[in-house]
């Protein structure tokens, strides 16, 4: 789209390739089909929710309630299904609808009251997570055999979950790059006042992005439930902040208007490749945190370079 964005995206992908090269030198099994499949599978949960997060951040917003939505949807899916195949479609639709309405509430409160998104979504996060714990405070319910396909099934040699991720990603990219809605997202993130003076329905567009974000969080929740066989009230916890990392590492500005899903995709892979290779090298999980922290700061400093340094 923009030359500058391209150049920066190239750099992120260059780093990703470098990481893959180093990992494959350090470990024989890294490039095995099995491990690649593993990496893809690991990417999917974080990937899905990061797609939604990218939309919100592009409008200069943020959604901290995704973790709670993931926990909620994972428990609700299994709790309502209790292993019954016949209920699969209605339950999934209901869960997605609930997620969409949570996103709507986030967006509605943010646009109507002017309370910063950080605070609103922190509030809804607590509210929803509390509700989940009231519903169940331990793993609960049972996934239906049909829905197990989501986590474990394959189409040819491609895991169904990876397929779901690729479809969501492609739809996301098309929305951002080729639709009026996507253009409006960039316009609002770039300059909300100009967007308003250009007749863009700023509030409505923002609400849609929060709905999209909750929707992708629900997909992650259902996928996690499918993987574990039952719902986990703490399943979403790590995602609240983790979902921001690929977006930032991928070059989307927290100030909005800049970046996109191609960058987020690189961010997702950088994180999973890092975890995967450090795991294989038997490095403690705590070190993974340390390295991840360094990557975040270095990446954002790279995008801002020169801007605040003069």
């Amino acid at each position: 789209m923009h030359l500058k964005e391209h150049r920066e995206t190239y750099v992120v992908y260059f780093i990703l390739i470098l990481m893959v090269l180093v990992s494959s030198l350090l470990s024989d099994v890294f490039l095995s089909l099995r491990n690649i499949n593993n990496i893809l599978r690991q990417s999917v949960c974080l990937g899905l929710v990061s797609i939604g997060q990218t939309f919100v951040i592009l409008t200069a917003g943020i959604d901290l309630s995704v973790g709670a939505v993931i926990s909620l949807t994972s428990c609700l899916t299994t709790g309502l299904l209790m292993g019954r195949d016949a209920l699969t479609i209605p339950v999934v639709l209901l869960v997605l609808a609930i997620a969409l309405s949570i996103g709507f509430c986030n967006g509605f409160i943010i646009t109507r009251t002017g309370i910063p998104p950080l605070i609103v979504t922190l509030g809804t996060m607590e509210l929803i997570q509390g509700g989940v714990f009231l519903y169940t405070d331990e793993p609960y319910g049972q996934i239906s055999p049909y829905l197990e396909v989501l986590a474990w099934g394959k189409l040819g040699f491609i895991p169904v979950s990876v397929l779901l991720f690729v479809i969501t990603l492609v739809v996301g990219i098309v929305i951002l790059r080729q639709t009026k809605f996507g253009r409006h997202i960039y316009a609002i993130g770039g300059n909300e006042e100009t967007a308003r003076l250009s007749g863009i329905k700023v509030n409505r567009v923002k609400i849609y992005t929060y709905m999209l974000c909750s929707f992708t969080a629900a997909l992650t929740g259902i996928l996690l439930a499918s993987r574990m066989g039952m719902g986990d009230p703490t399943a979403g916890e790590p995602f609240m902040l983790e979902s921001l990392v690929p977006v930032m590492v991928g070059g989307t500005s927290l100030m909005g208007g800049k970046g996109g899903l191609i960058g987020t995709l690189a961010g997702i892979f950088i994180l999973t490749v890092l975890n995967n290779s450090l795991n294989m090298l038997d490095v403690s999980g705590y070190w993974q945190w340390v390295v991840e922290g360094v990557i975040i700061v270095v990446a954002v400093a790279f995008y801002l370079r020169g801007k605040n340094w003069d």
């Binding site: 789209m1 923009h2 030359l3 500058k4 098309v174 080729q178 639709t179 009026k180 809605f181 253009r183 409006h184 960039y186 316009a187 993130g189 770039g190 300059n191 006042e193 100009t194 967007a195 308003r196 003076l197 250009s198 007749g199 329905k201 208007g257 800049k258």
Partner: protein, 499 residues
């Protein structure tokens, strides 16, 4: 004759593309109010920022208290006793009056603890010297604008300022508050301070100034004693200039009434404004900053609501106006602040151009890239926008080219009425001429143009009719033949009769 406290000799300053000041002399004396007057953009603020150490001159000398000085920061100027009270106050809303007065110079006990009794005691003393009863314990956010101004003056006094620059202090206050400001200025003057009073309101010059220096286009016109001259002389000094710019020939298009405003009132900013706008002509709106020009423009565009009055678009009465409705009726808006309200900096030139017409270039849900490129390239060519290509991010273009992009965005939506607020602000001479001929061409094609401008030559050179505003009131509409700089300036400062 009092002694000079400072002297600025042959000061020149240029910014990229503009000669802001050209060998200007200026001085101040102990116990004197020296007014600095001129139109917007005459160079008053630049000159004072140089004196206050915020800018550095390219040429010229500054002598303060008999010593030549070179300020490299406002702080150094402050140390020499030069304080500026800007129109936008430098106060922290959440802190108390006393804390603001001593901000950055907090008195301490044992080098670490705040000396609160000195802080509040000294503040109270300073404020009572000014004859005000503001409680130094109150937070700034609970004070009126006039009271905040007093705090600023107290702050200047606390720094032992003996040269106090006031940048249009009357722009934010009025009536009784103004009277008490005059009294305070009188008191400061009697205590031997030199006051520089920037303004473009003539009546106050006669009220308080001992001397008045007039700037025009960055040049010194002259220094006079208000007691020896009349208003007309001052106006002539402010505006009388050679028309160096060339404006396109005034050829109006087909004329029919398209927009009618009846008694529009909005809070304190607009009072009973009535106006008729015709297709095919350029209606200039003139007035000083704060006269309600921008507020009027925003109301017509639907960006703000009005309290009373009626707007007719053609014969249709406008109910509950909104930006979207205005755009669909065919009203275009080129805002005053290009950066804050006009551009979307992260988007490309092409994306900025097509922002208003995405509906026309999309098929199903998808924006047709080829149509978008065609339209954007067409605009770039038609308006002669200097850019490597349409994918360039707009922030890398020059001001003039950015403005052309915003005009292109507006024109592509095919509006019947275009409101332009300061369409040539901050753009270079070449781009100005191009914008002028574009505006005239649009009018020739039957578009109604409402052009707000602070630059009188621009208003006179471009407009078929000139509406002049003063303090929210419509002072009158002049025909092209009637509109002279003197006449407009008289009306804009409140001397014409209103209708």
């Amino acid at each position: 004759m009092p002694e000079k406290i400072f002297e600025m000799q042959k000061i020149s300053k240029s910014f990229p593309g503009v000669q802001a000041l050209d060998t200007v002399d200026f001085d101040g004396k102990y116990g004197e109010v020296h007014a600095l007057i001129g139109e917007n953009g005459a160079g008053k603020s630049t000159l004072m920022k140089i004196l206050a150490g915020a800018y550095r001159q390219n040429h010229g000398k500054i002598i303060v208290k008999q010593e030549e000085t070179h300020f490299s920061s406002p702080r150094e100027a402050q140390k020499l006793g030069i304080s500026t009270i800007y129109q936008e106050f430098n106060l922290l809303e959440e802190l108390t009056v006393a804390e603001n007065i001593f901000l950055g110079r907090e008195p301490t006990k044992n080098r670490f603890f705040l000396d609160k009794s000195y802080l509040f005691g000294q503040s109270e003393k300073l404020l009572s010297q000014l004859g005000t009863q503001i409680d130094p314990h109150r937070k700034i956010k609970y004070l009126s604008v006039a009271e905040q101004q007093m705090v600023e003056i107290a702050k200047a006094l606390s720094q032992n300022a003996n040269i106090i620059i006031m940048d249009e202090p009357s722009a934010v206050i009025s009536g009784k508050e103004l009277d008490s400001l005059y009294r305070i200025i009188q008191g400061l003057k009697n205590s031997g301070k030199a006051i520089i009073y920037i303004s473009h309101r003539l009546e106050e010059i006669f009220e308080i100034a001992d001397r008045a220096t007039v700037l025009k286009d960055g040049k010194l016109v002259g220094t006079v004693f208000p007691s020896n001259v009349d208003k007309a002389t001052l106006v002539k000094m402010m505006v009388g200039r050679s028309l160096s710019e060339t404006f396109p020939e005034k050829v109006a298009g087909e004329k029919s009434e398209i927009l009618t405003l009846k008694n529009i009132t909005q809070g304190k900013s607009l009072k009973n404004v009535s106006l008729r706008v015709y297709t095919g002509e350029i209606l200039g709106i003139s007035g000083l900053v704060g006269s309600g020009r921008t507020e009027l423009a925003r109301i017509i565009f639907g960006a703000d609501q009005f309290d009373a009055g009626e707007i007719y678009f053609g014969t249709e009465k406008v109910h509950k106006n909104s930006i979207r409705k205005s755009i669909s009726r065919g009203i275009g808006f080129v805002p005053e602040d290009r950066k804050k309200e006009g551009l979307i900096e992260c988007l490309s030139v092409g994306q900025n151009i097509t922002l208003l017409i995405l509906d026309q270039i999309k098929k199903w849900f998808f924006i047709q890239k080829d149509r978008e490129e065609n339209i954007a390239n067409g605009s770039v060519e038609q308006l002669n926008i200097a850019t490597p290509d349409i994918d360039q991010e707009i922030q890398f273009l020059s001001g003039g080219n950015q403005q052309k992009v915003i005009l292109a965005r507006c024109i592509n939506a095919n509006p019947k009425v275009i409101i332009m607020d300061e369409p040539t602000r901050g753009i270079d001479v070449g781009a100005k001429a191009e914008v002028y001929s574009l505006i005239r061409k649009l009018a020739g094609q039957g578009t109604a143009i409402i052009m707000i401008s602070s630059e009188l030559p621009e208003i006179i050179g471009m407009s078929d009719r000139v509406a002049v505003m003063h303090e929210g009131k419509m002072m009158g509409v002049l025909s092209s033949a009637e509109a002279t700089e003197e006449k407009i300036m008289m009306m804009a400062t409140g001397y014409g009769q209103e209708n």
